[in-house]
Subunit: 473 residues, 4 copies
Amino acid sequence: MSETSFFSDMLQSIADQGRRLLALGPREGAATLQLQDRGGVEKLCETLLSSRGEASGIAIAKAILDRWDGFDDRDRAAFMRMLLERFGPNAEALDRAIDAHRAEPSERTAQALHAAAEPRRQELIRRLNLAPAGMSTLMRMRETLLRLKADDPALGAVDDDFAHLFGSWFNRGFLVLKPIDWTSPANVLEKIIRYEAVHEIRDWDELRRRVAPDDRRCFAFFHPRLIDEPLIFVEVALTTSMPAAVDEVLDPGRAPIRAGAASAAIFYSISNCQEGLRGVSFGNFLIKQVVEDLRRDLPEIATFVTLSPVPGFAAWLGREIEDDDSEAIAAEDRAVLAAVADKNWPDDSAAVERLRPVLTRACAWYLLNARNTRGMAADPVARFHLGNGARLERVNFLADRSPRGLRQAHGMMVNYLYELGDIEANHEAFVGRGEVVASSSVKRLVKPGKAAVAAPGAGRKSGKGADRKELAP
Amino acid sequence: MSETSFFSDMLQSIADQGRRLLALGPREGAATLQLQDRGGVEKLCETLLSSRGEASGIAIAKAILDRWDGFDDRDRAAFMRMLLERFGPNAEALDRAIDAHRAEPSERTAQALHAAAEPRRQELIRRLNLAPAGMSTLMRMRETLLRLKADDPALGAVDDDFAHLFGSWFNRGFLVLKPIDWTSPANVLEKIIRYEAVHEIRDWDELRRRVAPDDRRCFAFFHPRLIDEPLIFVEVALTTSMPAAVDEVLDPGRAPIRAGAASAAIFYSISNCQEGLRGVSFGNFLIKQVVEDLRRDLPEIATFVTLSPVPGFAAWLGREIEDDDSEAIAAEDRAVLAAVADKNWPDDSAAVERLRPVLTRACAWYLLNARNTRGMAADPVARFHLGNGARLERVNFLADRSPRGLRQAHGMMVNYLYELGDIEANHEAFVGRGEVVASSSVKRLVKPGKAAVAAPGAGRKSGKGADRKELAP
Amino acid sequence: MSETSFFSDMLQSIADQGRRLLALGPREGAATLQLQDRGGVEKLCETLLSSRGEASGIAIAKAILDRWDGFDDRDRAAFMRMLLERFGPNAEALDRAIDAHRAEPSERTAQALHAAAEPRRQELIRRLNLAPAGMSTLMRMRETLLRLKADDPALGAVDDDFAHLFGSWFNRGFLVLKPIDWTSPANVLEKIIRYEAVHEIRDWDELRRRVAPDDRRCFAFFHPRLIDEPLIFVEVALTTSMPAAVDEVLDPGRAPIRAGAASAAIFYSISNCQEGLRGVSFGNFLIKQVVEDLRRDLPEIATFVTLSPVPGFAAWLGREIEDDDSEAIAAEDRAVLAAVADKNWPDDSAAVERLRPVLTRACAWYLLNARNTRGMAADPVARFHLGNGARLERVNFLADRSPRGLRQAHGMMVNYLYELGDIEANHEAFVGRGEVVASSSVKRLVKPGKAAVAAPGAGRKSGKGADRKELAP
Amino acid sequence: MSETSFFSDMLQSIADQGRRLLALGPREGAATLQLQDRGGVEKLCETLLSSRGEASGIAIAKAILDRWDGFDDRDRAAFMRMLLERFGPNAEALDRAIDAHRAEPSERTAQALHAAAEPRRQELIRRLNLAPAGMSTLMRMRETLLRLKADDPALGAVDDDFAHLFGSWFNRGFLVLKPIDWTSPANVLEKIIRYEAVHEIRDWDELRRRVAPDDRRCFAFFHPRLIDEPLIFVEVALTTSMPAAVDEVLDPGRAPIRAGAASAAIFYSISNCQEGLRGVSFGNFLIKQVVEDLRRDLPEIATFVTLSPVPGFAAWLGREIEDDDSEAIAAEDRAVLAAVADKNWPDDSAAVERLRPVLTRACAWYLLNARNTRGMAADPVARFHLGNGARLERVNFLADRSPRGLRQAHGMMVNYLYELGDIEANHEAFVGRGEVVASSSVKRLVKPGKAAVAAPGAGRKSGKGADRKELAP
């Protein structure tokens, strides 16, 4: 349909405009304006907020962002403090709006109150976004802000404003799912190498093995204003069975199959790319749309399942072992588990066989019963997939022998199953009632009485790791 | 650069997704849900606001919009009333937030107040936008709302929320300028015919004459989510001189020149296309970017000037004539002006010659001195171009002999000049000081003492016509 | 796949190059060279043939084509005579090559002979094709040549060379099938209006009815070097039954159905666009690929059938009526057939009922038995579809009431059925054995003894009309 | 212009068609046909030549190519012999055609003779090209043929037919110049790594340094039917001066400059990619078009110059040294030149200084005076650039220290200058009069009397190396 290509042309223009504008170069702009002190930036920000001519607005926005690019760490912390202290709501105006609303509450007065309570930095950030590379600079700005917030929690108020605006700009309606393969641009592919957070991609040859064969797929979300930057991506293996270990998937010597011969799609790696978008959730949409696209293109595929890490398991297990009252670990298992202290246990076949039932059982317990402080499933990856409506399908022993896999989860991995017909019900069960939907085989691993499904808040121990980069699988 | 085509591909996907989702068809969805009473819609809206699963959110949003599509006028009025009355801010929560803020004012309490004061319909509209054709249905929804608001001003509160969200979604950063020519898709071109609001395009042959010759150009802004819908467009004639009448431009028998031979670009028609986006301003950006693009492609072009209607002139003049104290009209001119009462005056050469100086002078007075109730230039088209930083360059007698041209402006037209180097200063003069920047020849038309530049608010009579579709030229 | 968009970019470059080069303008080039006499053209042609620098070759080719563009009819005839007389094979070199081959026949000497026997104009035409718009000018050149050949048959030798080269340049491997719809560029759509040769398209509204509704499709072949020029196109109606009259298809008041609800695809118009490509056959490929594409996109469609004119029927019938020995027309039918002399017979219901069986029978006889001088089916459209492997499925009385339909075929139309499984066998039967494959119902229309399938060459009368523009359906 | 994107869409369709057809897979087709003996192939070829149904033609062509893919070396040699012996011209028909022409020579009889003398394999190859991947298989077929021809010169007749057809299919009008950069598809970029024949690209990091920086460019020609296969590419460095050594260009530690700051474009590597297209010349067009494109995009660039190897120099010098009568080498230089026998001479600064004038002089002599057996410049790279109209600008001592550079040319490199205004004249001088156009500084290197410009055929010694893969620079 030429309508879409008409549309494509349009977007080419966007990119061209951007490129043209950027050709002016960041530093030149700054130099021209010769505003180099921090006070200058505050003044620029005030000017931007009060500017009415939009062309000059763009130039001022660009000048501010260029200044930011040149800032050192101290300047940046000061800039964020300035946003907090000088660009909050106007206190007087807010007081007046409250008085007016109290005097005579109405739609209008509420609306005025709403406007008066909005931190002025929201409009400021909106206007900064008009600069050619505004969105990408703002994203990097928030990366810095997240770091600063750790030491200066008051900056959380500023972060809330960023998060609010990012949530609206990265609205699902603006995101585009793109297959990534060996014909994708190198500058996009190198970012796949860089951002892969679950199973490292060492070099271009390994990348090629991940995206080029007919039985390997990769999909990413992009945003129209960030054309070279994947936001999140998932790697998929097309197989004839549900793999129990990641080596089956990553083995460089394996013989590829034809995509048409596959009956299962394995989501074996999901990575968020942009730290600056933390908290803006895409993964949910991503998996569902990839499932939909694969079903359309490869109707023979009947099973959609992850092969996922269990990043919180080892830490949780360590705490349980030290807790003499642990319900999770039977006394007789405690001794066996001591073996994991030796890093080389996977090479000791006797230890392996002793640990197999014990670790498997403990992992099932962890996934079914452990809760964080908010009463949610303790494991962040479990939380992600269960929240998406997947089912905890199988727990795999010694499935990831990489140093990270052993360190985080004693080598355990999990299959979460996406059964399209059940997704809404599963989602409802998990989000609404805190119920971990699991296959009967996983449930059987945990002794009755202990496997009782926990009500929200009923869990005992909590993992931290809420916002992990490798949120899934 | 393949990066842009990589990006184009992306956007093709958006369109394809949209198309696929839309293939379900609006009415089917409605039928499936079998929620046909208005009460049902309110419940659906509440469900949408409280939904957490995003896939189900999209389905509910779609169901609501499908319901809207099926509504008659009474239903639609009721729906808007419902948005006003049931989806404002939560009064209790707002009270609590005020109390908390008064108790201990802080960033946090202000933020909570901001959130509590936000009408719930804002989030509702955001979520409706997730439906596949959400944006275009919301735009049509606002068209209706604007009509309803005329009779029911309380709905202005609802409209403010639409306007706020549209302003953010149609942020300049998302708009794309596209040339429109004879190779453009027919479904886009037919909208140019339909939306042309200044000089009517009667049929495809006339359209071809407007967009196909080498010395004719047309540019439109588009939004990525409304791929077939121009938002605003401008028609441009490339010439060797500044035309004094629109017939010179539209004459079907004229001999086209090579674009490379042109020294002037005449903006002779600007039309807003989407009534539902009223108040979201694009024209400013449009003209500036078209100037920039033309300068790049055709460096020989030195003059960028409009040939614009004067839509408020005849009405203003009528009032002045009846006002015996009018400063604008000299006593001796009053008699001459009576001649315009005869519709056929342009064919009476004696009348024409008598009217020429008088109408020209009156029109210059109107443009230089007449102000609306807000103290702005009375003529909406003048307001638009002067606000953009153009200069009032020339007043043209009997320049538009079309029935509309005679009815609205007794045939007068105006050239506004865009001189890139002066735009910021002119804009500042007009917006900041209410000064109408004009060429000396226009200023000379008005007797000294009368031509004194009016301070804001100093004008006397006002035209209405603020939000005209044919805002310019 | 970004590979295809990478590829698309490439082709954009072609177009851009072409445009840039063309920007020089045809007449300027000619002016610069100031070679305006015919002798000059011959010299330019010799120079082009001997040129070794390829950039200069392109310039000379362009100069020759520009000259051609400026030629009047006499000049053009002289140019073609020149190609015939001065740019045939080199007689001496050919003689030498024959001698050498006779002396010692070998691969090498045969090859040398091949080269020496090639008319020099072949290489000349190849080099002319290097000019930016070479291919399209050469195509128009051949249009002229075909006209000239009618009066000057010796030019057939020149035409053979054009035909040979066009056959290679328009090799199926280079053609691209494109759907044409209401989102197609206006400059392509206006050519659909212009080239439609079967059922006239009166204006843009009618065009819209042909390409915009969901149950109407149009497909065309394009060549990469002629990007705005459809070579051949077919119009398709998606229906729920095989239509017996073209009004069912073209009725402006009909209610469109959803494409997904259709069970049959009706090819109701096929038009060749480029007279200059006469003899280069695309229609065969076109129908087969459209069938394939429709089957893929709309798997519910089970029947692929034409609704075709019978352009040779009326002329043939006229001759048969005057032939007292006609086997085709029974004596008793002769009187009835006289009624068609009255143009208004379709409005006379008695005449209609008398003619119905007689015309239907005669038409079936014509299609089954009439042969041209080469022993092929007499009707050109029948020849086209039967040669493609279609089956003569049904003969429709009073199916085309347009003036042309009545004049050419007394209103008769035919359905040819494309049954994918039978195409090769049908094709073989027709091309190999001259057999007209027909449904039993059509065969039954003709009395046994008369319907005997004719061997090639066995037919009696012949229509002319071999190379009709509206070759089908 | 949406016309080009309309066009792009088209080409996407080509690719899609190809992909769909290819999805059947080569081996499956072969299996289905179960024709595995060589005799079978001959029969298939005869069937293809006589087939009239074009769909079946495509299937047969595919079957033959699939068979070829499965052939071992012996089979392939036999296949080529078959083409030679069984698919030459029809001897009887040729004899008859000669008789007819001798009897009555005319355009018609010459044309018949032309047809009869054409080897039947030409039409066979044309029809093989209709198979989906026909063109690429035929190209690989010719690679094999070129190898076989070395041992079996009679196959030259078959190769001539391949070369003739490739020359027409790879007509300049079908080629597209594409910039290659870091946003190009990985599957294209990996071919740049593979095919680079002048200065090896070791890995993706080195590739990135060659194509990503703003002052590095790469351009390749592509053919629409071979979308992932560059045919020839050139690497360009944008600099502020003419480099005297390739290390200046390739140094990984160099600081890139802005493209806009460059005044010179250095063509430092040109590689042909397709051995199967040997003899089809693209380089000429490539350089000229790249010059044109760079001039348009970067008007500041005034100098276009190569930094080229001298691949025949060392071999020629070796022969001269052993020739006591050499005019090229003065007696006193002979002793100095002995130093190059030690591979490590570039590290011996005394040797370097002694060799500098001697090698430089000898290289200048070689380039100005040495001729091959056909009287052309002996050095293949010199022949290429001088034939293109470049000027021998500068001879650079110790400019390429790579093992290959030292082995082939004792480290010498040459700058050839492309001065647009002189190209035609230089080309004429070289091709027409055998004159090596050189700068006066290069000419001064050679003693008068010896530097006398050689007439064609006047050169003495000849290099071989005519068809080198790294033909340039």
